[in-house]
Assembly symmetry: C2
């Protein structure tokens, strides 16, 4: 039996255990994982609290070494990851390898960021003893770690948004201890990575408590973690219900803490006008790829397409349904996701004015959690009349919504909830023609795309993977890209300190050669 | 009778009215102010929502013109402000003039920030069509306005943290409409500034709804404002109870919004070791000035001094008490603040082990809300045993806490709640000697000072006026300085857009000559 990782030792072998599930066979896997005990959680939090001061003193170089050691460590165990993660998730080998590459890449991206060091936003205001009417003090500020961060593994990113994924990488880079709650669907994958984290931390002489990995029920362990006074911030990727529950717990604490939950988005696509036959085919085929990528299990999966009605719309809808029919059912990450998908489609199809153009039965294959594709259709009038159609259906389905006028398109934009992405398809000139629409949509999303599909999130400094509620719990944040580090840091100002005591980032001589604002 | 300002017109003349109070005479002032009606609030919110899209399109130059027009406008009415604000607050004329100067200065600081423009953190990742295995898309991000902001006037800064104070200035600079709730203690001051805001907005052709000013009861109007779906963020300076109430309301909304509440701080001072006679006199006199500045009504007022016990400690305590006795009672901003001060002192003096070294009766002067100074004394053991001693007493009082050992000093640091500031007094070499203590204190405050007192917050790019809870509701923010603008902005990424459509901040040719990160 496997237990949690608490600092540099292991957790209790509690009586309550669970197994992972193979979505291709529909059978449980043999390994047993013990639920973390209350004592495990509090030991992990206490260790994190104790290590936080030491971690906060690490310089960018030291943090870079650890992040790079871990990145290489993950590459070393890629073959084991392929076996375990494929069994636990049903994802194909190339996806596992690509996601492992992204995960190592993210760790190295944060290593580079902290090695360079300018991310701390060093600001220096030199004192002026002779200023009138009062002397000006010497003030210098920079970003410092917020403290221990609780990270919840994402079901749909067993590597890139799990144990050593973007949340953990950005928290470590900021200088924060990380407490990870493993996802019940891929504990074996979590453990492989977790062991690599411990090995890398030890190799780099990081203090015990810089990391713990907790197995068990999300609700109970999630609550204990988020309510523990040692925890100073939360990173989460998952459902709207789950994210909101954590947000509510954190907001009710005697000392409220920020929760960065990435939750729910239908990632609407707006098609400005009809297209030529060739363009229509390209668009339908691009949409198909984006909507069915990873069996539709991406946060940026485009769930709704608003398109002009009439002849072109009818043609496009037929073409797209036909293409979706060709896609064979594939296993979703676990049976819970599959039932949520089926329930979502059932609700959607029961909405007034929704017609099913194609719905492959997910039940044709008896074993495993295989999901079939689905295309539903409605018009703007009916969509505007029923909020239920705006709810995310997580899986390989698309709702096509035809509109009749520019006015109707604007109404659609106005009623949208917050989104991770909104994609626009049209000619360059349309952007001016529909200027007000674009301005409205900008208030609804963290990322706007033009003639591109939203999946395949680029990991880079300018990416924004965040957006107004409910796509995330804090529209001022991104969970992908270098900007993710700002979630776990806070500004601290030093007034009147002697130069040789100041952190290198703030010393007169700028020994790290940072980009700083000086005044 | 005066009513609220709703966009470019005035609010309802409701039946419920209130008057301001002259703290020097203890009498109400004659002007009547009508409480804003529910209809006033919803009209103001709807106007703000409608103006938000237009405001979001304003460039830095246009925003700068408005902020500078308003700054000059405030200077034009300085004589009226002196009369009205002195009557409403009891503050002396030089303070009114200085605070007006700070207010205009802040507006110009934000004007300069947005005119220069680099604050938007423009990030550009150029596309690479030939990248393997997948082409890299073109991504560009920048900060954009969060939407309408509700601002609550601070009782203790009738100008610099009220109608056109730091919260409003930073929100306008970010491109957000502002809805201000006036403080009941200085409605006349609020109205003078509010009328200047309207005049300046009209002169600069800003859309109606960019500003409204609401009079009335904080609880009811605060609730309506914070719960209104049009409001996207809140700025508040005031009590812990008030700030937390707004935070709780905002967190429970269907769409939670960020609340930046600056609430409560005892701003502890740590004295590392005894001082020479001359140094002791300088320290006592500096502390006196800081603790009694503005009748102790500053958020950064140093309320607690941790100092070495023994002979030096006794001498210092006697000296300081004697100096405080010389300070005559002065009027607090309103009678509510005075009762809170008296209640706070009563609680403190009833704590086990607390001795009153000097307490001037606030009641000697029958008229007006005059507060006397107070010095209380205890030791670290008793302080550590009673959380009540850590509560802020807002006013001209100081609690002296003697400690016996370095270990005891560390314990004191560890139990502290979050603070706006922590000040350290000692020799340069003490910073190394007490390195762990300083590291702990850094996790407790937004600003650390060395051999300086915390009042007299410098308004500049590197200032941090924020800190862990309960000093603020979000340790990641500052409400003073240019960094305050980040509270009201969020990153938006544009993927694949044609260059000539992009905002100037993100165009290839960098027409605004911004500092950008490009990769």
């Amino acid at each position: 039996m496997e237990s949690s990782i608490i600092g540099y030792s292991r957790g209790d072998l509690s009586a309550k255990t669970f197994q992972a599930f193979n979505p291709r066979t529909g059978k449980n896997l043999s390994a047993n994982y013990a639920h973390a005990s209350e004592d495990d959680v509090s030991r992990a939090c206490d260790l994190a609290k104790n290590s936080a001061l030491e971690l906060a003193q690490l310089d960018g170089k030291s943090k870079g070494i650890f992040l790079r050691t871990l990145a290489s460590g993950i590459e070393e165990i890629i073959d084991d990851l392929v076996v375990t993660m494929m069994a636990e998730t049903g994802l194909p080998e190339p996806r596992v390898r690509a996601e492992a590459g992204r995960t190592s890449g993210q760790l190295r991206m944060f290593a580079e960021l902290v090695e360079e060091g300018s991310w701390v936003d060093a600001r220096i205001d030199l004192g002026q003893a002779d200023r009138q009417p009062l002397p000006k003090p010497d003030l210098r500020s920079m970003l410092r770690p917020i403290g221990p961060v609780a990270v919840f593994c994402a079901s749909n990113f067993p590597l890139a948004f799990s144990v050593a994924g973007g949340d953990s990488a950005s928290a470590w880079a900021a200088g924060c201890p990380v407490l990870v709650k493993a996802h019940h669907a891929h504990p074996g994958t979590a453990l492989l990575i977790g062991q690599k984290v411990v090995e890398s931390l030890k190799a780099c002489n990081w203090p015990e408590g810089s990391f713990s990995l907790l197995f068990g029920d999300g609700r109970t362990i999630g609550k204990s973690l988020v309510e523990h006074p040692a925890i100073k911030a939360v990173g989460f990727t998952g459902s709207r219900t789950g994210g909101r529950a954590l947000f509510d717990l954190a907001s009710k604490r005697p000392e409220p803490i920020p929760v960065f939950a990435e939750m729910s988005s239908i990632n609407p696509i707006f098609v400005f006008s009809g297209m030529s036959t060739k363009q229509t085919e390209e668009f339908a085929s691009g949409l198909l790829g984006s909507a069915t990528l990873g069996v539709g299990q991406f946060c940026t999966n485009p769930g709704v397409v608003f398109h002009p009605g009439g002849e072109w719309g009818d043609h496009f809808a037929k073409l797209y349904s036909r293409m979706m029919q060709e896609i064979s059912a594939s296993p979703m990450l676990h049976d819970g996701i599959l039932s949520a998908y089926e329930n979502g489609l059932n609700s959607l199809s029961s909405c007034e004015g929704v017609k099913s153009l194609h719905r492959a039965s997910s039940k044709e294959i008896v074993e495993g959690s295989f999901a079939g594709t689905c295309v539903m259709q409605t018009n703007a009038r009916d969509f505007l009349a029923d909020e239920a159609m705006m709810e995310e259906v997580f899986g390989p389905s698309t709702l096509l919504v035809s509109y009749e006028s520019q006015e109707e398109m604007q109404k659609l934009a106005k009623v949208l909830e917050g989104q991770l992405t909104v994609s626009l398809f049209g000619k360059d000139i349309d952007l001016k023609k529909y200027g007000e629409l674009v301005a409205i949509l900008e208030t609804k999303a963290g990322r706007l795309l033009f003639n591109q599909f939203p999946t395949g999130v680029e990991v880079c400094p300018s990416i924004v993977h965040g957006g107004p509620y409910p796509s995330t719990s804090d529209s001022r944040s991104t969970s992908v890209g270098t900007g993710a580090i700002f979630r776990f840091s806070r500004p601290v100002c030093f007034q009147g300190f002697p130069n040789d005591w100041l952190p290198d980032e703030l010393k007169d001589e700028n020994p790290l050669a940072l980009r700083r604002s000086e005044g």
